[in-house]
């Protein structure tokens, strides 16, 4: 299927939503800390690796984050 490109700067539409989700995420991580932290919990490492993917420049971030949270078919 062809990729569709919308006209204009897509941030015009998405910036506020991205901003809100970043604050939400930051607040959630503060909450984890206040709850005693989660040191050593492998899910915390999944979150950290996912944040690095989000901050990176690869074009398939969503796919990569999905794989970060997926079991491998090959075990």
């Amino acid at each position: 299927m062809a990729e569709t490109a919308s006209s204009g700067n897509p941030l015009d539409k998405d910036f506020l939503q991205i901003r809100a989700r970043l604050i939400e995420l930051a607040a959630a991580m503060d909450r984890v800390d206040r709850g005693g932290g989660a040191a050593g919990d492998p899910r915390l490492e999944q979150i950290r690796r996912s944040l690095a993917i989000v901050a990176g420049n690869e074009p398939n971030r969503a796919e990569q984050v999905q794989m970060e949270f997926s079991l491998s078919a090959r075990g």
């Binding site: 506020l16 901003r19 809100a20 604050i23 939400e24 607040a27 959630a28 503060d30 909450r31 206040r34």
Partner: protein, 266 residues
């Protein structure tokens, strides 16, 4: 659980919203004067709007078994027009003497311009001269930090200000601390995308405690949620907080603030 929504723009909401609020346990609503989404052309438009807030909306709300209180003022957006603002400020004393008008609000800053500040200073002067309670709207998004600081500076410069009679609204993580430390009331607005979520409001209670914190919907004519206070109550319960603490925030606190106004009738 019974609760108040001390900041909601009833004039912009339907009777379906009032019905839902009443069924959820809401016993009273506070309605500050604000920007209706378009700039009004003359002071007489504000005169009629203040009549709506003090005569018609209380009747509409009473049909659902809830009480209604109003605040009157010149909102930050239209405050840019200083000439118009002065004509509107001249109308305020008549309304500030009406039953169930709690004080001057919501007033504040939008783009933090010189004109907005001039209007704000004149509104604060009127309120302090009359001993009125004050309700401040703090700006949105990237202007919030700067605008909140300007409002706090303005208040700190006048020794007639009684902090527990001042409510600074739309506080967020980066502005709530100085507001509480100076002794003012801090409002948390649960508003999609641009302000707080119920979960983040619970965070604020966990970090700062319930003293002088108000939770409101500020529901208006834009995307907003009149059921925000019930959503906060639910989020508090999900996080394991007991009903006494929740009631303190959604019932006792707003009642305490509103009762400080001489025209409050409960």
């Amino acid at each position: 659980m019974y609760f108040f929504d001390p900041h909601i723009h009833v004039a912009s909401r339907t009777t379906d919203d009032l019905q839902a609020l009443a069924r959820a346990g809401c016993v009273g609503l506070g309605e500050p004067a604000f920007w209706m989404g378009y700039d009004r052309t003359a002071a007489v438009c504000f005169y009629d709007y203040f009549r709506q807030l003090t005569e018609w909306e209380p009747k509409r709300v009473a049909n659902y078994g809830m009480a209604h209180w109003a605040w009157v003022g010149m909102n930050a957006k239209e405050a840019e027009n200083v000439g118009l603002a002065r004509e509107v400020i001249a109308l305020l004393p008549e309304f500030l003497d009406r039953p169930n008008v709690l004080g001057v609000g919501e007033i504040g800053l939008n783009k933090c311009t010189r004109n907005e500040l001039t209007t704000l200073e004149e509104l604060v002067a009127l309120a302090l001269a009359r001993g009125e309670q004050l309700l401040f709207h703090t700006p949105h998004l990237e202007e919030k930090y700067r605008g909140t600081g300007m409002i706090l500076d303005l208040l700190a410069a006048d020794d007639r200000v009684v902090p527990e009679r001042v409510w600074i609204d739309h506080c967020e993580e980066h502005t709530i601390r100085p507001v509480l430390e100076a002794g003012y009331w801090a409002g948390l607005t649960l508003y999609p995308t641009t302000k707080m979520t119920p979960e983040r409001a619970v965070d604020m209670i966990e970090i700062y405690g319930p003293e002088r914190i108000l939770v409101t919907s500020s529901a208006d004519w834009g995307p907003s949620d009149p059921m925000a206070v019930p959503a906060f109550i639910q989020a508090m319960r999900r996080r394991g907080h007991d009903d006494a603490l929740i009631r303190r925030v959604v019932y006792d606190n707003p009642l305490r603030l509103m009762r400080q106004s001489r025209n409050f009738q409960g």
